[in-house]
Amino acid sequence: MSFPLLTATAALPALGAVATAAVPAARRTAAKWLALAASLATLALAITVLVRFDPDGARYQLTESHPWIADFGVRYELGVDGIAVALIALTALLIPFIVLAGWHDADPLETGSRRWRPTQGFFALILAVEAMVIISFEATDVFVFYIFFEAMLIPMYFLIGGFGDRAHEHGEEAAATQRSYAAVKFLLYNLVGGLLMLAAVIGLYVVAGNFSLQEIAEARANGSLHMATSTERWLFLGFFFAFAVKAPLWPLHTWLPNAMQESTAPVAVLITAVVDKVGTFAMLRFCLQLFPEASKWATPVILVLALISIVYGALLAVGQRDIKRLVAYASISHFGFIVMGIFAMTSQGQSGATLYMVNHGISTAALMLVAGFLISRRGSRLIADYGGVQKVAPVLAGTFLIGGLATLSLPGLAPFVSEFLVLVGTFTRYPAIGIIATFGIVLAALYVLVLYQRTMTGPVKPEVSAMPDLRARELVVVAPLIVLLILLGVYPKPVTDIVNPAVKQTMSDVHQTDPKPEVEAAK
């Protein structure tokens, strides 16, 4: 038996979480370093996965399979395809930055009980989320996936509800109330989605008799497992609903702005750049593979929802007064692009969508983390409280600008490639939708540039005048992300090489081929 690399990649942060949580109350700094070390070690393992993955090899690689709960037909089955590898790498890459960026976010203000250890809890929860996200990307057993998809909510919930920005315009008590409101909203939305998925998971078991993604997909492909059309559609809806809440897709998105607004910037990055990716990833892996016919049936509606997300998210982002809410609505708009790319059912669309997931993770992390640094300096999330920051803190302003430009998909930065691919992929099949979606880009330019203009340019506000520039720790967080944005913007081939074979497979699962270019078709 070979070394269970995938299990190790997920188990390491889990162990790190336990170890971090166990650090005594007085040794907060040790807990932070421990968490950072665990996340870096996980990154090393994720890179090993990346290296050992052969894009042209079998569909699922590094597979592991052990019996788990035979009575439920559940096997502990892991395996990664190109899409999963890319997202695992993204997750493992972002967590060290999240840990570093949140270095002081959970330092206790007052000393509560001797046993009250918020710092240890904060970092342990982040690592726990990482472990569960990674194993969700790896699981090829629907049940295993479901378990971690759901269990992820609990640490996430405590991260949102338990830790927030230090400064709040209405004082600490109001902040706590709003935080717990946001946390509960997050949990209830996702729990309802998850429970409907549970019904569908049970239904899938009744129909298929086991939970193995490969077995079911194979049996569906060769016709040995027949699903009645209505059954397939109901099951698809059960799964899709959960993923659409997680992603989030309009009109199930309303938890995201609250959650991102109330949590600290690193946690907000964790939500939108890491956890939400599980939703869009699962659409690709589970919805399309298990229910190809129903996916095609639902495509028109989903595309329209995605389109609404794109335009609506962007419009609301333009209107926000709160920096974090603005980024949240921008993310909703971007998730619309991802979902659109997935369900356009073209290989450019789906490659673009996968690439988009990676790029969006990096660009949002850059923008949001810098925004977090900004907010922690001034103690306010309101755009109107800033002005002229670029004169006082040029590096901060510069990195903020690059993060913003990446968000609006400026050519030369990574998100441009993916957005372009998604739009091209959509346009070849659904030209009208592709055209309307481009408005999202225009609006993105508006909300990003207006945000930059209002906060960074203009006369220096007195409250901002003493603002220090980025510190060394903060630079360590931001600089690599920006380097990556530029690298992947100029040369995205390493990612697309890994992703493309998997996308091709998925396309063949749903029996789709790319439409021929019109010029060729006319010949």
Partner: protein, 549 residues
């Protein structure tokens, strides 16, 4: 009645006594029950003869030994194959010794043992006049607030009778799911109900509430018993027998010979339907299913918390066991009649419990309504009418009972000057003050909510899977929706504990003795083990899924 019938009755009664055989009792196979009842009798003698000072220790010792011995006997029987190949009906057809019976008896005994630990806890209340006190009244007979009560407290009296009462209740519960004729069923019902009524009444604090709860429980329980008894009479009139097997045969039509004395009633379907309905009603009352749930919140709130925990866990196990046997062994031929009714009961129980729980402000009442919702989930498994249905219910009950006892044990720890602080507002910020206790309670709440990696999820999945397999997909959907509703109020408590600011004069968390710690520890361990690695126990429940007929 015709003359011939009267004559036959007369001559039967006048048969020579020599013809009655000595009943053949398989003492070994009944040993779990016999040990527990025997120990209960010893407990009564201890009350009579052992000096007051050493009674507590003697009672706890006897009870622990008895429960452990009885559990060992259950394990020995199961290992001897009585759960599978050698399953049969013992004691002249009165008691079934089979998989479900042994599994449930094992669960009840373990739950009873853990419950016993919480009964024996004496560190939570401050010492009264230099005597350690437990959760029970100094002298239950003295009027609350009276001089005699004060004198009893001053003298350091304790109600050590709770231990034999507990053992009697456990003894009855052991017979209840294994009863194989209706009379045994009824006797077992009374044997475990009467001690429970008494136990509800003997709280040390808030005695009036406790007594009120006991009276309510007793009155409604007496009604339910009357229904049960009436149902039994009607079924006897229909089948001419109280034996499960015989009634099932008459329902199936395999036995058609008519008892001359019952010529007018035998085979009359009206009697069958009414009798079955009344009998099931009595059991649904014990289970706490809507619309027979009215007693649950009041009794759960008023009873001493250790009793509530034990009752919520063990009664449910015993009553669901009996319900399963009744529906699967006696009334399978009536399946098409009872299934629609049970569908309706399950749906309103799931939804009703979950919805009403949202408005609760007292933690014990909240857990009461949650237990109602859980009864609904379990009913969904009962309705599956398959082997999977039985084993999923068995598994669910095993997981659920330990979560319940553990949760109520945590409730006993959170106290202020007036005893347990059960009002939810007082739990605000508990996570700040005692992170460990709050975290443990959060684990129990997550298990109640059915979050993956807890026993609650594995149980819920098993039950829903069985229901979906059995063609009850709409029930699964309702179950999932009510789980979502229920999740809301479990989460609300977690929010309160972790995200609310602690109140200035909030309750303190008492440091318990190792007994309660053990009870809570077992609860957490079982919750996590059944959640992460349920396979062994699912196998166990799967093997135990066949009723002997």
């Amino acid at each position: 009645m015709s003359t011939a019938a009267v004559h036959s009755l007369w001559t039967t009664a006048a048969e020579p006594i020599s013809k009655i055989d000595t009943p053949k009792i398989e003492y070994g196979q009944l040993s779990p029950t016999l040990i527990v009842i025997g120990a209960a009798l010893v407990g009564v003698l201890i009350e009579a003869f052992v000096p007051r000072r050493s009674r507590y220790y003697a009672q706890v010792f006897v009870s622990v030994v008895a429960l452990c011995a009885a559990f060992a006997a259950v394990v020995a029987l199961a290992a001897g194959g009585y759960g599978t190949t050698k399953a049969h009906i013992a004691a002249m057809g009165a008691i079934a010794v089979d998989g479900p019976a042994l599994f449930l008896q094992g669960t009840i005994l373990l739950a009873g043992l853990v419950g016993l630990f919480t009964f024996a806890e004496r560190r939570l209340d401050p010492e009264a006049h230099g005597n350690r006190v437990d959760s029970f009244a100094a002298q239950a007979a003295s009027v609350p607030g009276s001089d005699s009560e004060k004198a009893a407290v001053k003298a350091g009296f304790t109600t050590t009778e709770v231990f034999p009462l507990l053992l009697f209740a456990i003894g009855g519960m052991l017979i209840f799911p294994s009863a194989n004729d209706l009379l045994t069923l009824f006797v077992a019902l009374e044997v475990f109900s009467l001690p429970l009524y008494l136990l509800c009444a003997v709280a040390r604090r808030k005695r009036l509430m406790s007594q009120e709860a006991a009276v309510k429980y007793f009155l409604l329980g007496a009604f339910a018993s009357a229904f049960t008894l009436f149902g039994i009479a009607l079924l006897y009139g229909y089948a001419g027998s109280v034996s499960y097997a015989r009634i099932a045969q008459v329902v199936d039509g395999t036995v058609t010979d008519v008892d001359p004395a019952l010529a007018n009633t035998m085979g009359n379907d009206v009697l069958l339907l009414m009798g079955a309905a009344m009998l099931v009603m009595g059991l649904l009352f014990k289970v706490g299913a809507v619309p027979f749930h009215m007693w649950t919140p009041d009794v759960y709130q008023g009873a001493p918390t250790p009793v509530t925990g034990f009752m919520a866990a063990a009664t449910k196990v015993a009553a669901f066991g009996a319900l399963l046997r009744l529906l699967y062994v006696v009334l399978p031929g009536l399946r098409w009649d009872w299934r629609p009714v049970m569908w309706a009961v399950a749906i309103i129980t799931m939804l009703g419990g979950a919805i009403v729980a949202i408005t609760q402000t007292d933690i014990k009442r909240l857990l009461a309504y949650s237990s109602i919702a859980h009864a609904g989930f379990i009913l969904a498994g009962v309705i599956a009418t398959s082997k999977d249905g039985v084993s999923s219910v068995l598994f669910y009950l095993a997981g659920y009972s330990f979560v319940t006892i553990g949760a109520f044990a945590v409730v006993t720890l959170v106290r202020d000057a007036g005893g347990e602080a059960t009002h939810l507002s007082k739990w605000a910020g508990l996570g700040r003050r005692s992170p460990l206790v709050a975290a443990v309670f959060a684990v129990f709440l997550l298990a109640f909510a059915g979050i993956p990696l807890t026993s609650g999820f594995a149980g819920k999945f098993a039950v829903f899977k069985a229901a979906a397999d059995g063609g009850a997909a709409p029930l699964v959907v309702v179950g999932v929706i009510s789980s979502a509703i229920a999740a809301f109020f479990y989460i609300r408590v977690i929010v309160l504990m972790f995200f609310s600011e602690p109140k200035a004069e909030g309750p303190t968390v008492a440091v318990p003795s190792p007994l309660t710690m053990l009870a809570i520890g077992v609860g957490v361990a079982v919750t996590l083990v059944l959640g992460v690695a349920p396979q062994y126990f699912l196998d166990l429940a799967g093997q135990a899924g066949v009723f002997v007929r």
